[in-house]
Structures are given as C-alpha cells and as structure tokens.
Symmetry: D2
Subunit: 478 residues, 4 copies
Amino acid sequence: MFFQAIQTPGLAHVSYVLGDNGEALVVDPRRDLDVYLEVLHSQGLRLRYVLMTHRQEDFVLGVTALSLLTGARIVAGKHPITGYADLQMGERERLQLGRLFLLALHTPGHTPESFSWAIFLDSHPKHAWGVFSGDALLAGESGRTDLPDPERTYENAALLYDSLHREILPLGDQALVFPAHGAGSVCGGHIDDRALTTLGIERHRNPVFVLGRDDFIAHKLHERLPRPPYFSRMEELNLRGGSPLDRDPRTVPPLPPRTFRESSRNGLVIDTREPEAFAGGHLPGSLSIGMKALPTFGGWVAAPDTSVFLVMSEGVEPEQAVLALARIGIDRVEGVLAGGFGAWRNAGLPIERSATLTPSELQEHAERYQLLDVRGLSEFESGHIPGAHHAYVGQLEERLPELELRPEVPVAVTCDAGYRSGLATSLLLRHGFQNVSNLLGGMTAWKKLELPVEEGAPHPKETPAPREYPTGDEVYSE
Amino acid sequence: MFFQAIQTPGLAHVSYVLGDNGEALVVDPRRDLDVYLEVLHSQGLRLRYVLMTHRQEDFVLGVTALSLLTGARIVAGKHPITGYADLQMGERERLQLGRLFLLALHTPGHTPESFSWAIFLDSHPKHAWGVFSGDALLAGESGRTDLPDPERTYENAALLYDSLHREILPLGDQALVFPAHGAGSVCGGHIDDRALTTLGIERHRNPVFVLGRDDFIAHKLHERLPRPPYFSRMEELNLRGGSPLDRDPRTVPPLPPRTFRESSRNGLVIDTREPEAFAGGHLPGSLSIGMKALPTFGGWVAAPDTSVFLVMSEGVEPEQAVLALARIGIDRVEGVLAGGFGAWRNAGLPIERSATLTPSELQEHAERYQLLDVRGLSEFESGHIPGAHHAYVGQLEERLPELELRPEVPVAVTCDAGYRSGLATSLLLRHGFQNVSNLLGGMTAWKKLELPVEEGAPHPKETPAPREYPTGDEVYSE
Amino acid sequence: MFFQAIQTPGLAHVSYVLGDNGEALVVDPRRDLDVYLEVLHSQGLRLRYVLMTHRQEDFVLGVTALSLLTGARIVAGKHPITGYADLQMGERERLQLGRLFLLALHTPGHTPESFSWAIFLDSHPKHAWGVFSGDALLAGESGRTDLPDPERTYENAALLYDSLHREILPLGDQALVFPAHGAGSVCGGHIDDRALTTLGIERHRNPVFVLGRDDFIAHKLHERLPRPPYFSRMEELNLRGGSPLDRDPRTVPPLPPRTFRESSRNGLVIDTREPEAFAGGHLPGSLSIGMKALPTFGGWVAAPDTSVFLVMSEGVEPEQAVLALARIGIDRVEGVLAGGFGAWRNAGLPIERSATLTPSELQEHAERYQLLDVRGLSEFESGHIPGAHHAYVGQLEERLPELELRPEVPVAVTCDAGYRSGLATSLLLRHGFQNVSNLLGGMTAWKKLELPVEEGAPHPKETPAPREYPTGDEVYSE
Amino acid sequence: MFFQAIQTPGLAHVSYVLGDNGEALVVDPRRDLDVYLEVLHSQGLRLRYVLMTHRQEDFVLGVTALSLLTGARIVAGKHPITGYADLQMGERERLQLGRLFLLALHTPGHTPESFSWAIFLDSHPKHAWGVFSGDALLAGESGRTDLPDPERTYENAALLYDSLHREILPLGDQALVFPAHGAGSVCGGHIDDRALTTLGIERHRNPVFVLGRDDFIAHKLHERLPRPPYFSRMEELNLRGGSPLDRDPRTVPPLPPRTFRESSRNGLVIDTREPEAFAGGHLPGSLSIGMKALPTFGGWVAAPDTSVFLVMSEGVEPEQAVLALARIGIDRVEGVLAGGFGAWRNAGLPIERSATLTPSELQEHAERYQLLDVRGLSEFESGHIPGAHHAYVGQLEERLPELELRPEVPVAVTCDAGYRSGLATSLLLRHGFQNVSNLLGGMTAWKKLELPVEEGAPHPKETPAPREYPTGDEVYSE
C-alpha cells in the first residue's frame, strides 16, 4: 500500500496518491502535474484512475490533463455535472484498486455533485480504513454552503449536515479522513491545523458532529466567507475537468529594467516582496502582494487575460510565483524584473515609496491619520482601532468613493499583519493618495500591545454586496 | 502542526518528526541524521526533544548523536535502562510541545523499558490524536516477546497483552497509531502493509485485540522469529543512546579491480547485484546479498570489525549500500569495486559462476539434484518441494556438516524468491561445492506453477537452537 | 558571462548555454529540454537565440521546440538546408549577445551546411575567446566526411581540411574549442577524452592540423565508421529543426508480468540489465542492450514505429532508458516490466538462459565452440581469436545465412567487453541457437591475459555493404 | 578525464576537481566539503591528492579536513610555510594522476609560497593542457602584492611579474588557466568576468603581460585594495591547512521573537534582507548586510568569538547565510529569527526604521542633508556628489569622530548601489543618528541620471591608515 498527501502551498489544497499492488489513483489533482508524475514514477505505480470529489472553486483542476497524459480513467460520482468522467459511479458502487476497495458516497451540501470515497482494506466493507471527503468534511470544519447559490445557504447547510451524518459518520471513529483542503483555505471557515485526522477526532471536535442540526445550520448561515471573482472562472473550467498547464513557468522571461517598464505599461505589475521592502521603494503603480498571499489575492486583482509582470527579491526564482498564479487560472505572466528590485534601483528609474508605522507610533499620533481597516467584516466587528473606517481589501477600489477619504491627508492602513494592508496601501497610491502608511504587525501586534480596540459594525453600516460577494467577510489567514 | 514519518528503507523502520508552533521533537532517530536536519531546517523548526520509545535491536539509534548536534534534550520513559536520558518521565507524566501534549505510557512486553507516547491536541487529555507506539503495537501485529529472554516469552506476551489493553486501547478508536516498524521488519511476525493506521482499525484487525488473552499468548509462543547475531550488539549500543555515523558513506573509496583484489584478500566481499547477475559471473569467494537484503543479511555475515568490500552494478552509487550496513553497526566498508563487475570482467581477472534453474527444469530433472531449502523453519513446514533438505540460510554454514550434502553432486537451492538462496548459493561455493543452482523465483514461482509440495518438518527433525537462535524461523519478506 | 556545457549521456553529445548581461543562447539543444529551462531559469537568463551548427545525425534536435517554448529566435548559417531558421547568417556576419559577439564561419566538409561560431569578448574581433565548432572540429579528431554521400568522402575530406585551416585555425591558439560531440560519439573516429580543449592544443594533437592535406584525406578515406539505420531518420527530422519530446518519459506505464507478456507479444522487448544478469535468466525472445549501449544500439534494432517494452533491474527508474530511446527518435516505449526481472522470476513465467564463458575457459575448450566476433571490421582485423567468424552486431541478422553457423553446436560470442556480444547472443537465441555463450570481458580481457590473437581479414572476405552501410566498421566504445 | 570547477558564491572563490582513470585531486578546497564528496562519489572517483596553490586570506581552507576524511595526501609546493603537507614538491617536480601529469611551478609574488601547477596530457611535458594558477594569475588580473607586507608591495610586484613571465608564459597560448578566484573577489583589483580563459587570452588582455615590467609594478603600487580584519585570521588558520566546518549549518536554531530578543542582547544582530526592507522596518541595533555582501562584510563586523544572530526574509532558509559566515571563520551563529522579520512585526516588539531617498529627491533637497559617501577612497575620488563627506564603510565607526556629523541633522548615505550604504545606515543608527536615509541605487543610479559629480580627494584629506589597512580602497562589487 502506498499513500501520499500532496499539499499545494498557498492554496491549502491537498490531493492524494493512493496505490496498491502496483496500481494507483490520484484524487483531485491540480493542473501542474509534475509532482504526480514524479511520485508515480519513482514508486513504480501505474496510474489507473483520476478520482474526483467535486468541482473545486479555488484552483484549476488537472483531471483531464492527467488522464490524457497517462491514459488513466476519470472517475466521478454519478451526477449531470460530472458528465465528462469516463466512469460515473452511482451511490454505493465500488471501485477496486489492487487489494483495496473504494465506495462511492454522495455527500452534497458544499456542492450538489460532491462525492466522498470511503476506502476499505478488503472486499468486505465493514470498517473503513479512510475516506476522501473532498470539501464535505474538513478538519474541524465542513465545506461552506453558500457557493452554489448564496440564497440557498440554509438548504445546503441542512443537506450537508444530513450527508455527513448519514454517509460519513457510520464509517466509524477509526476511519482516517482525507479532506481536499487544510488550514488556511478559503473553502471553509475555520479549518483546524491538523496534519492528519480521523472520523473519531472529528466526531469530538467538528461543529457538524458536535452541534445539533439547527445549531449547525445557524452556524453556517452566520459564516461569511469571501467569494473572490475568480471562483466562477475556476468552476467553469473545472466543470470540464480543468485544464492543463498553459506553459512551463520557467519560460517566463526575465526582463531588464527598461524593457520591463516598456512591456508592463499596459499590464499589471505585482510586487511579491515583503511589505517593508515595498514601503522602502517600489515601482510606481505596482501592487504589493506577498508570495504567501499571491495564490489568493492574485485572483482578486488579475483576470485570465491580464498581462502580469512580476517584481521579486533578487535571487528568488519566479517559478513558484508563476505557478501560484497559474493555479488560479492566471496564465499571462509576461515577464519578471531581471535582477529584482535592485536592478531597477540601480537603473535610476522612478521609485515610489510608502511609509510604515508601528502600533505605538500610530497610537501616539492617531489624530494625524485617516484610519482604514481592510480585513473582513467579521474580523473588523470583533475588534478594531477606534475610529477606523472599513473596506475589505478585495472591495476597496469599488468602495473608495463612499469611504470619502481625502487623498492629501495621511492614511494609516491595517489588516491583521501587514499583507492585505500592503495591497491596500498600493491600491491607495494608485488612486492618488500621497501619504499612505502600512501598520506593521497590524491588529495582531496592536492587540499584543493591549492598545485600545472597539467592537461592532462600521459606520456607516455596510450593506453586504448582494450576489457575487454576499458576505463581506474573508478568512485569509496570514 | 507539522508531522512527517521518515522511513528507513530495508529496515522497515519508521521514525517521526512532530512539530508545533516552531518547536519539534524527533522519535527514535536512526544514526544517519541528515534527513532529520533537512526536514527541521526546511520547516524552520527548532528541535526541542529526541524522544525514545525503547531500545531497538535491529538498527543503531542516533539519539545521543542528534541531541549532541542540536542541543535537544533526550526524553525517555523512567526505567533504569534509559538512565542516559536527560529527562526520564514517569507514567502519565506530560511533555508539552507547542500546543500539543504527550503523555508517557509504560507499555512493557516487547522490552521492559518500552514506553508509548500518546499525543493530545490540547492540555485536557480526553481523546488522543495519536500515539507513538514503538514496537509495542504495530499495524496488524504486536512486538515480538522473545527478545529480552527467550525463556520468558510467555510472561512477556502476557505483559504485552496487558500493556496494550490497559494503556493503549483506552486512547480510543480515533487515535492514530505511529509504530516504529512497518511491514517487512524482523521486529514483528506479520506486520500489515498499511500506510497509516488507527487504534480503531487495529481493534478490529490486530490479534492482540481480536484474540483473547490466552489465545494471544499461545499465538506469541508459536511465533518463531529470527534473532540475527547483530541484535545483541545493537542493543548494547542503543542502551547508551546509539552512536553517531562513523564516517561519511561517500568517502568509501572506489578501488580498481587489481587493487580491490589485493585489498579484499582478508576481508569479506559482498556482491549486491541481482541473483541472476551473480550466477552469470562473480568474484570467487564473494557472497551474494542483494540490495534489499543487505540491511538484514549483512548483519548475519559481517561483524562490526569485518572489513567489507562491495561489488555493485556499474553506475550504481554505493552510498545506500554503505548506509545500509552502517545502520546495523557495520562500519568498516573499506572499498567498492570501481566500475562495477564490468571492470573486473574486462580486467581478465578470475570469474566464478553458479547456475540458475527454473521450476519446470528442476521438476523435470529433480533426481539430478540435492535439494536445499534455506527459508525459515515455519516457511519450510508450511510447504516445500518433496525431498528437500532444510537449513535456514543464517545457520547454513554451521549446519552444513549435519546436512551431509556431497560437494561433487549438483545442488539446487531454493528460498521463496531467490535472494536467500542466492546467499546460500555463494556460501556453498565457498565451501567447495562445484555445481550449485539457484532456483529462480523459488517457492513463489513453484507454487504459482502448482508443482507438488509437501508439508511438515524436515528429516531429520531439527532441534531448534537454544538461546541465541531460539526459534529457527524468520520472516524476512522479499 | 555565463557558460555551461550540457552533456547528453550515452550520446557523447554536448550542447552549450552561453549568457551575458542577462541574455543567453543555447547551441544545438537536444529534444528533451528540461535541462536548458532549468539552467536558464536558475541563472535568470532570457533566451534570445537557439544557435545551430549543423543538422545532426545521431540524435533528434530540439531547436524548433525550444524556440517555440521561449520565443527565442533560431539562428543558423545561411544555407538552403537551414531555411527554417528565423535568422540565417552569411559568412562573417556577426551576432551580438550582451557584450559578446559571435562570428559566423562556414565550415563544410562534415555536412555542407556546417557553420562554426567564433566568440569574441568585444566588438573588435581580434583574438577569439572560443568557437562552437559543431562536428567540424572535435577534440583530437574532425567530423567524419562520409555521411552526406559515401561516394564523395574524398571531396568532403578535402573540403573539411580547407574549412578548418582557412576558417578555424586563424582564430588563434588561445581560442577555446567547444565541439558538439565528445569521446565515445559515433560522429568521429577517435575523439579524445578531454574535458576542455583549445585550438592550440588541437594544433599540436589533431590529425587535421598535424597531417598534411593529402595525408589527412587518406586518413579520412581509411576511416570506416558505422552508419546506423536511424541516421537518415534523424537527418530528416533535424532538417526541420528536430521535434519536441513526444511524451513525458515518466508516463510509460509499469506493467505487471502477465500484462507485460500479453502487451509485448507483437513488440520488441529490450533488456537493459548487465550481460551476466541476462545470461542468468531473461524473457524468451528479449534482446540484451545494456543501458550504456541503448542510445546507440536501440536505433539498430528499433524503428520509430516499433512498440518497445523494457526489462530493467528492480528499483531502477526507466526514465533514463525511455529518454535514451526518445533522443534517437524511438518514441513508442509502451511499457516497462513492473518490479523488474524479479517480478517475472517470481511469477513462474517462462525464463530463457544463455551462458557466460571466461577467456581461460574458452581457451581451454575452444574446439567445442563456433566462435563469433561481432565487433567492427577494423577492430576484428587488428586482432581476433584464431578461427573466429566475423559479423558486425548491427548486421548479424542479415549476414547469418552466409555465416553458416549450426544452431545445435555451441557458439561463443565476443566483442570487446560483453555488451555487443550480449546483444548478438540474444539475437542468436531468437534465431533458434540453443547454446550461446557470451565471452565475459571479451577481447579486452582476452588480450590482458595475453591469449593468442591473429590479425587480418575474415574468411571469407566480407564485401563491405554498399551505400547505406558503406564501411562495415564501428567505433562504439564500451 | 573529468574536470569540474566549483564556485563558492559570494567569495568568487573557485576550487577544482580533476580526475582521470578513476583517480582525482581537489585543488584549494573550502572548509565545507559536501560538494567535493558529492562530485567524487557520483563520478566514482577516488581522491588521491588535495592540492594547494597557496595559503588563502579570504576564506578558510578545508585542506586538512578533506585529507582526514578521505585519506588523500596533501600536496603543496616546497616551502617552509607549507610544512604540514604530506608531499612537498620542489620546482619542476611532477605528480602523476591517471594518465595526466602535473608540474610544480614556483610563482611567488602574491604570497611567497605560491605555486602554480601545470597540467600535461601525457608524460612528455611539451604543450600544457592547463594550469592551476592560484592567485598568481587571474582572468585579466594578477594577485595583489600588498598582502605579505604592505611595505614590500613594490618588491612583490616585481617578483610576481618575473614569476608569471618566467614560469607561466612559456606554457603556451593554448594552455587553459584555472585561477583560484573570479570576478568580484577581493584578492585582485579588476578580475574579468570570464567563464573560462587561456594563457593566450591573458597574453593579449592581462596587464601583467600587456604592460612592461616597470609599468606593471607602478600599476600594482597604485592598486589600493581593502584588507579586512579577518584576513590575518584566515591566514593563521590556513597555515595549518585550514579547519573543518565547526557545525552543520542546519543546526542553527530558529528562535521565536521574544527568545531571539533575549538571546541576542549581548550578540550581534545581522539583517540580511534587502536595503529597502531594512529601511521599512528592522530590529533596533541590527546591522544591515545583504546576503551578497555577507561573505565579505560579515568579516568586517564580526570576530570569530562574536555571537551572531540572523534576521532574514520569511521562508528563506538560513543555511547559506550561516555557511557564508563560516567560510570566513565566523562560527558562532547562535540563532535565526523564526518566521523572519514578519514574526517580529506581528509580535508587537520594538521596530526601528530608517529612510530611503531617490537620486532626484536628494538632488532637489540636497541642502537638508549631511551627505556621506562610504565607498572606497578611489571610488570616491573618481566621482562623488558635490559636498559629500567620505569614510569607507569598514572604517566608519572609528572615523566617525573626525567626520563631525551631527546626529540630529538628517544624513543621506550613498555607496555605489545601496548595500554598503545600508550597512553604514545601520551603523549610524546605532550611534544615535535619528534620521538616516539610504540613497537607492547609489552612485550607479546618480550617474545614470547624469546628476552632477565632482572628482578629487575628500576634505579634509584622509591619511591612509598605516599597516593594517594600508590603502583606504576596496573593490567589493555589488
């Protein structure tokens, strides 16, 4: 028996390779397939199946791509949405792999076509060894239920509750749970940071099993998670089994400073350095999105047809940054600044700066600043700096008019640590604000220093945007 | 939370790195420490503890070595044997690591000082997340109970039964089980090939939980496992926390054929190529031990002060072979044949050959051969070729006189596949046998072809060797 | 300035990456491009040009593939044959790369469109830093002149002599020489094993500079090099800039023994293990071609549309073997035996064996054997075992009838070491010979032992095959 | 023949592995030996000799360490200083390696015991293949002659001129030159950036061959190179063959922010992030030395017994930083900030900031700033911002009193790009300056923008410090 979990950094996505007797299946592969080919090859495993749990919203699948490359058959639960699968399995149908058996369990709620796959060590399914639970059951959490239709969050929460109690719970405490996402994902509210988990552990700690049905539904209704604009594009691609990697990320050309300036004139420049480095000097008009935030916020600021240009620290290879964007469908990275920001610096080209601020400095001179908190709404409500304005970073540009900030007065921007406020800082600079400071350490540092906070809704009260961004909240954990 | 299992190829040994909040512990490290340093460094984890479950018999520990290198404290259960630990923890004492807590559980039976370490996700130990079970509880098996004293196998089996029922079972079905050995180890009889397991899975499948106490003890008494001569040396080293790697395996010099011949005159030449290659041509007097068998059978034929010389296939780097021997305390590998056997071949130096035989050839001409089966006694008893002599490969040389084989008559040697018979073949050649054939595919192929077998004890009946090899059996799985 | 030579194992092909000021060019890339992408990416170099010296006959180029992937322009010397290039440069035209300048030098003789490219450190071309000499000038050798037309070897030798004296020699002793092939290549007769060389070193040691014009031409006429059947296919592909890799070599499926047997029934089974292992046991009908010989002899036995199946040692990943074949245009590797030969052995499937023989055994019992020497003709002529028949391994099957060997009488096969004789052994077995022995160490060992040899042509004298294999010789160095 | 140059990043040091017929030698190894063991092992080479060209001043040698590990003999030229060598070879003595021969050539001038080693392809030394030239002959440069005794720079320059003309030049234009240092090294003034070079190339471009003897000596006298304080310590260690690596760099513990603060109280905190990031926020009292500058400036600010603590960007592994310091003898790196500066930021711990300034901002508001140029004296003299004060960064602290800068008035610091000025910025902050700005892009950007410069000596004129820093200049190329 061979088993390996394959993490996708930044996305908190987990795919799996399961093998037995020389045969293997891969569950929910991402579109950059190198890691799967490498594992299968080094283990001498023949790929028989590419198994799906559900369409995914936060990254592009590599299901058809992997199938095409290897001849493996695509296996999904029987549902109209997964019509492109080679093998659509109905409820309780079994799939054999070596000496192992997988059992198809329909577990809708997160999405209608969600299937979980219980794994048994032999052909007499009594006590499951484990279950690939997709986004239905996560560590300490269950999948969000607002995605298929925000208007039907209630119904989907009920459906999910029933799915998990009826299909998953009976598998037994002993069953290992292999979810499609881990801590930090935007696919669930508060996913626990557990390297491994079992159904018994979840039974004692997971709201879906700890709470009653009504409480669970209420809990889900209260959940307000971000819905980045790229989600619908991912879904569209994934309903066809995703898409192969568009290009080798190593072919993105390094461009010398002047070429970079010319080429990027009509594109989007993303600076992946740390917030302090961005503050100390950056390309005018560039957006600050640190490497860790790229797999999420890249999708807020860039569309698939956006020409993206990257500024990175000297000596850092851009491959991971290009991949991070490609995984959320942004394929047109057209250049990276050769020699990093240092080359720009030495070329005597225009440099813009912003400022940084420590919590104690802000506390001392609070009156000098217009204060802007760009965290999610519920983060804001649970405690913010007195007097702070609020706009979620992903909505900052559209909400700027109603915030009535004055460009000539200094602005201090905060989030929980400095990455989202870094992005907000760069957005404000693009909108002509002249003096923008990023609060170093954000609310995390502010609270550690026990500086004053107040709770409650922002003034004026925000109307949650309707359909495409129903909740105003987000959980990106920095 | 960070968790990684680190397999030691060939030994079926598993050590673990567990981390939380920037702190880490390593459980039962082997003496070549590179992998631990690499994981800790790349994860940014500070090593706080080196945790022991028990002395180990089948490899040299790197406990004190890792502690010395990193400043981490050695933690062991409180027992006179583990007196060298920095921190000896009594039963039910707790060790904190980040947000995690480990609970010391005394689980003797395999060895008297065996401790298991339950892991809890928070400070209120109710439902364990997992348990480092050492060799007390293995996947589908429990640790052998004959090692401390073969005369007390019965008592130790009872002790182990009670340990596991009293200390481990109450941790709950949901608890992940992290044993020190996996399938293929000589530390347990029939360890299952499960990538991961939980206590609930074991409760349904493991003899120690499935059988009653008396049946379990009987089962353990029936267990006849090999006790290689190096076990006692490992134990001796490990009772001091093991020993650091003696030398960098990459410094073993490649020696050209004539130098190799001169240098190895008073040493032991081990040929790690496949059995067919050995048969096709090899150095006179060399022993055939394939790479997979090296971590076990290397310890049967070489002592710590044996000068070992290696013959490998061309292009195969000897590092893994040298490490395989070092892990069982054989440090004096003094050279490897430069250019592999091909260089010897081209140098016109003496070449010895043996023969190979397919099952159908043997079946057809059985009368021409003296037949020798070198598997473990219980393997032999459960089905052998009619008329076969028996001697376990590890005891072949000492038992050769009583077997009364005639050197001038062809011998056909079999095991289950060809590795142990390959070693036996080379031993017979060293003892002057002129025509020795290795049965390709061994009993595995023989049985697949449904050729006749007979069951039962060998003639004359073997007296199991007393203390140092109490059982006559072995489970090395090829 | 960045410079890296990239060797292709087995082919003795060398390609180059040259960079300056962030720009780079690649010279004569092979079709598997990973290594180039990796080097360029890690060095932060932007690929501007893919530079060609000439069509190549012994491997498939990746010129258009690399250009397509990176947008780099294809640069070749001006000649009708290289019409697909983006930039065709006439004699003495210059190409700038960073601060470097390359000068186009037409150096026909090996092939009509051969260009060399002198490299200068600045824009005033006085003393060359180096020269990419393609196959015109090699270390201690010059390119063979029989390839474009065996009937015009004389004229091409004269042309090459003049090219090198007129275009290359004036670059000066100080110039580094970067040829497209190193020692072991079939593209030149006796290429020296020099890690680096300069024009001054060549001037003192290379026949083209040491010999007079007439002597050099005579020397070239005397040169009898193999012309494997795949050469013309390579040429055809390369005249269009080669072809991208057909598939990721890691996707070749491992097949369990019985599936392997079924699938390979109408295909070609190649066994890459060492000759001794093949002798000790192998699949009936399989051909023995060791890993080192695969990049050459694979092309003798397989065509592009041959379905190839591989047998390897257990634990050896097939990636390199698949690549070795792909590099000479054999793309249809359809499976590899899962678990290596060991799995076949244990499955009880039919096994065929051949024999091995040491030189002294052969010497002692020479009368029992029909002796066959399968080296190149000139190797044979310079010294063979008295009484040996001769047939070059690449022509063995077609010449078998005229050799009049008797299948029921033992045959001893020799080459210089054991690889070509291994292949010949397997060919004879396929033709029904019942007792075939491979002479271990071949003529290399035979001569080391000072056993008797005789010189001269074989009896009956061989008529060199006409056009497509004009010489009957080969220089593959094992 | 096997040949590989092994670069040491940051030091511009080059060591070499040369092999033939299975034997190898390593030239001038550094103390971290992993790369040599890896190359030798993967190539199947047996290390016979560790060859020295001369004591080195800019890094710690691993000569005795490598010898101890492998049993290889230490070979050096015959000179009292190299008394620890196993084999001291007199002038023109020959060393055989496989089929190669090395010839000992005494080439003093850089240091008295400098030997070069000519390499010949066979035993009749006529035309050298190459030469290991140590620091005697470099690409476009020769070794500095001030190190043994600044008072005898003249005599040593003459000696070096004669050495190179008498011993090296006769080897011939064709000879490859393998120096111990490349571009960017502090061991020569203006080493060219050539990946490879030959004696013929040097004969046309190197001052030692292009200039006459007197002009060359004058050139050398004019050369004013830095003499960092660690040079004498390196020399002391290297006169005993260097020293093995003190600890595995991966064992430096990551420390959480508060622990880091406590532990580093009496140590030196070095921040390796880019200058802009340092400006945007850093630990109070920390010194800014970017990764590229660490192998040089680490030795200016830290002594072997200095406790060093590192601040790096999140996600960057400290191994290379620790190695960079170890290579210049700074072994006591006692911790790295876990989680990078981001963790400190979030912990709410004190943060200090400095400022950045673009050239045009400085040009516009020059009157507001005290201007400080921290480049080498000759860099300053060849063109600085009008009115700038001067102090070489390595001498800044000791020269601070005489500069008479006022801590309460803003200071703008420049070098050529931003690294040395970054270090100077952090030094000024430690000395109580309240407003310090780092000029982004430094004089490189200033000159690109064609802003005004003036040439000439600083006011007041600096007295070059006498013995231990004789010249006031430095060539670190950023």
